[in-house]
Symmetry: none
Subunit: 215 residues, 2 copies
Amino acid sequence: MKIIEVDEELYQYIASQTKSIGESASDILRRLLNLPVSGVNLTAVDLTQSTMNSTNEEKGTQLPAEKNVVAETPKPSSEQEIKTPARKQSTQSIQHIVTKVKNLLQSEAFQEESKMVVRFLNILSVLYRTNPESFAQATEQETSQGRTRTYYARDEATLLAAGNHTKPRQIPDTPYWVITNTNSGRKMLMLERTMQFMELPEELIDEVRPYFAVV
Amino acid sequence: MKIIEVDEELYQYIASQTKSIGESASDILRRLLNLPVSGVNLTAVDLTQSTMNSTNEEKGTQLPAEKNVVAETPKPSSEQEIKTPARKQSTQSIQHIVTKVKNLLQSEAFQEESKMVVRFLNILSVLYRTNPESFAQATEQETSQGRTRTYYARDEATLLAAGNHTKPRQIPDTPYWVITNTNSGRKMLMLERTMQFMELPEELIDEVRPYFAVV
DNA sequence: GAAGGGATCGCCGGGATTTTTC
DNA sequence: CCGAAAAATCCCGGCGATCCCT
């Protein structure tokens, strides 16, 4: 075992990501970093998993995980001061989405998929399911509108009414619909704007981008 | 600063992700986890480029930058890869099917046969009978579905329900049914996909192909 | 739904390309 | 009038099932 030093806030963050009682720091980090579970260390069951099409996935919410179990180090009395700037999402909830999206990108099904629409819908599905409220808000921004078209809605009719041939599709496992008759560039643009509104890191957006690039 | 313990391999991985000389563990982890940079800690010079780990495209040129200074080890094969070795058939069982299929192809009856459907059904029959589980799984893939039709099922009704004139037929000596109202090209395609899923060698598939070729 | 087989042709979905709008 | 951004036409490839031939 190796020892590394991390700052207080980061330590708290890692501890907060504990999913199973007794998980070690390595277990948590491996999960967060999408690394394979190391050989001999199968202590905890992996609760994460991407969903390419399965519906039996936790819908949005997150078990309030046990906090601080990492290592043996006792927690100092000086409490954490993770600030929650108004109307900002918690770093934690964002990280959760990031992980889910990465899992999706990694999944065999996603990689093999040849149709942009399917990829598009799958990503939106993960975004919605990991944070419905944030997604809903993103949907209402004017960046989710075109000149005449409406990009997202809770029903097909709304989309059909706002354009001539938008080819709306329901986002899988979601009450939302999206328009679909767009080129790949616009699909990516729509994803980008939505993800930006949801405060996901640019870096993640950049990981998505290649999948919609015109080759 | 807090201390946490991580296993050797994970430590090496983290170290290998160093992008700037002198980066601390916290810096690296924050970057990998997409967390905001903490406070006022912009100590290190940014060398980036030559990311060597990002799977994303690299635009622009590539400085032959110095790599990792922290820790000596190159990064482990932890590249995000995640295949699905889940269902791996034994080489042996595959070989068994190969033999059986070859026998069929060789048989007088098969060679003489003038109807594609019969050939089609016979091959499927052998596939099923030599490895029912694998065949069953193949059957459930979405490659066993058309836009509206369902290609295989355990009963006639399912197939009838999913198309207009599919002409289902029971696969001889088998609990399975297939649709039959397709041209030869599609019959071959169905065989090909099924055989591929069953991990039969391309070579064998190529031996089958001529029997469904449009002459 | 009853003759059966399967090639041919028409439809549909995907999305790059073109057209329209501002 | 030009350029950018958005809309939607339309081509291509894949699939379904009609319908011709045996």
